[in-house]
């Protein structure tokens, strides 16, 4: 048996930027063409490395937003305050530029579509990005697996991938934590245990649970799902946060 975890050596490669589009006031979608892309699983990420003329480099990790079936690679990058990499990617980068990346990375936080049982996705902020890939994968494979998404954002304008959250077998609940627009039909508070009990798949269904967002969000949600009776081994989390200094 070939080792499941064995993979080809991960090398830096150059991607061509096909387009940079506005996803939200603070997030941009980078569409990339990667020659000789090894292919990825829904939920994996890439490392992006920027190099200045004097040799200074900065490196960050970004989830892949596009499904494995897409002919291109999409990243959605949220601009962080004082984030030198995210500032460059959201404000300076433009189509025709080259971007150095390596990937795909991470075999843990992935949904292979062949996995049995329903799927519960819970996203905070730009934590929805790997789920865009999973939902796209679900649509592309015409999967009959039930998927529910609970997605928390600050305001309606901060919602990422609004056109990609639906599909046959997919049901989505949105909640906004700051301002809600007139006529808003979704929820309007931070995710709490009550919300998890009412708007996610019950533990009796043994869903595979994916949680992605800022560390505090992930901690709250994971603890809440455990308290509702979900098995820890069925809960996969991915935390993101600022790394590497100022």
């Amino acid at each position: 048996m070939a080792p499941a975890a064995l993979r080809r050596r991960l090398n830096w490669q150059l991607a061509e930027v096909l387009s940079v589009t506005t996803e939200t006031p603070t997030a941009r979608r980078l569409r990339l063409a990667v020659h000789d892309w090894a292919g990825h699983a829904a939920g994996q990420h890439v490392d992006v490395r920027l190099t200045a003329p004097d040799g200074y480099t900065a490196q960050r990790s970004y989830s892949i937003a596009s499904p494995p079936q897409a002919p291109h690679l999409d990243l959605v990058v949220e601009r962080l305050e004082n984030g030198e990499v995210s500032e460059y990617l959201t404000e300076e980068l433009r189509s025709g530029d080259l971007l150095e990346l390596r990937g795909p990375i991470g075999g843990y936080f992935v949904w292979p579509a062949t996995a049995a049982g329903p799927v519960q996705l819970i996203a905070g902020g730009s934590g929805v990005v790997p789920f865009l890939s999973m939902l796209g994968h679900h649509r592309a494979t015409r999967s009959e697996i039930q998927v529910r998404l609970l997605y928390s954002a600050r305001t309606e304008a901060d919602l990422i991938g609004t056109g990609e959250l639906a599909g046959p077998g997919i049901s989505t609940t949105l909640t906004l934590t700051r301002a809600v627009p007139p006529g808003w039909e979704g929820l309007r508070r931070r995710v709490d245990v009550t919300m998890l009990a009412e708007h996610t798949l019950a533990p009796e269904r043994s869903p595979l649970v994916f949680v992605c967002g800022p560390t505090a969000f992930v901690e709250t949600v994971a603890a809440g799902m455990l308290s509702l009776g979900h098995d820890q081994s069925r809960i996969k989390t991915e935390r993101f946060g600022a790394t590497g200094g100022p």
Partner: protein, 214 residues
């Protein structure tokens, strides 16, 4: 992690340059900047190797132990009652940022050692959370090191090492142990958390002593 470093080994032009990328604003080099460092300006990066401890001041103490005639304990109240000094210094982190004119207040290590009688040449600073770092005793005495509880006029915030941290500004900043709780004095140098991992046992930023062997 090497992600933000100017590669000290190659020092050559890389194969690929990201168009329009200069990195965070780097100010003109100052003579106060050790080699390989950049001026972080008004920022104050938080670098953590573990969880931020949450020790209540009623349970906080500072201990001088090891090769000493008698162990010294300072409660928080004892510590706060000691003579205090303002300190304004430049600090240099091994991850290559430096910060000028940082303003601290605290107690000189000379004061904390007081009348301790010891033949020790080295100290191992230890902290809540298990962090340690080793220092020659000569480098933390003679007015060169402090235990500080105040930064920029306000109580030192937990992410920057509060309630109190060691401040040894003439060495790389990993030597200035956050959440410090005491010193173990000894005749032999016992290596600390980063030093056991291959970081330089002394850590002089002006000689770029980042790693063992530098």
């Amino acid at each position: 992690m090497g992600t933000n470093d100017i590669d000290p080994d190659t020092g050559t032009a890389p194969r690929f340059v990201s168009r329009g990328f200069t990195g965070r604003a780097r100010r003109p080099r100052s003579a106060r900047l050790p080699p390989g460092q950049y001026d972080v300006g008004s920022g104050f990066p938080v670098l953590s190797a573990g969880p931020t401890p949450n020790t209540h001041l009623s349970r906080w103490d500072f201990t001088v132990q090891g090769q000493v005639d008698r162990v010294r304990h300072y409660s928080w109240a004892d510590f706060r009652a000691l003579p205090r000094e303002p300190v304004e210094v430049d600090i240099h982190c091994v991850t290559s940022w430096s910060k000028f004119d940082t303003r601290w207040e605290g107690v000189s290590v000379d004061t904390l050692l007081g009348d301790v009688e010891s033949g020790a040449e080295y100290a191992l600073a230890f902290s809540d959370g298990g962090y340690t770092t080793n220092l020659p005793l000569a480098d933390i005495t003679g007015g060169r090191a402090w235990v500080v509880d105040t930064y920029d006029g306000a109580p030192l915030r937990p992410e920057h090492g509060g309630p109190a941290r060691l401040l040894v500004p003439h060495l790389y900043f990993w030597k200035s142990a956050k959440w410090v709780r005491g010193l173990v004095l000894g005749e032999v140098e016992e290596l600390g958390f980063w030093e056991r991992f291959g970081y330089h046992r002394y850590g002089d930023p002006w000689r770029q002593q980042r790693y063992a062997g530098d």
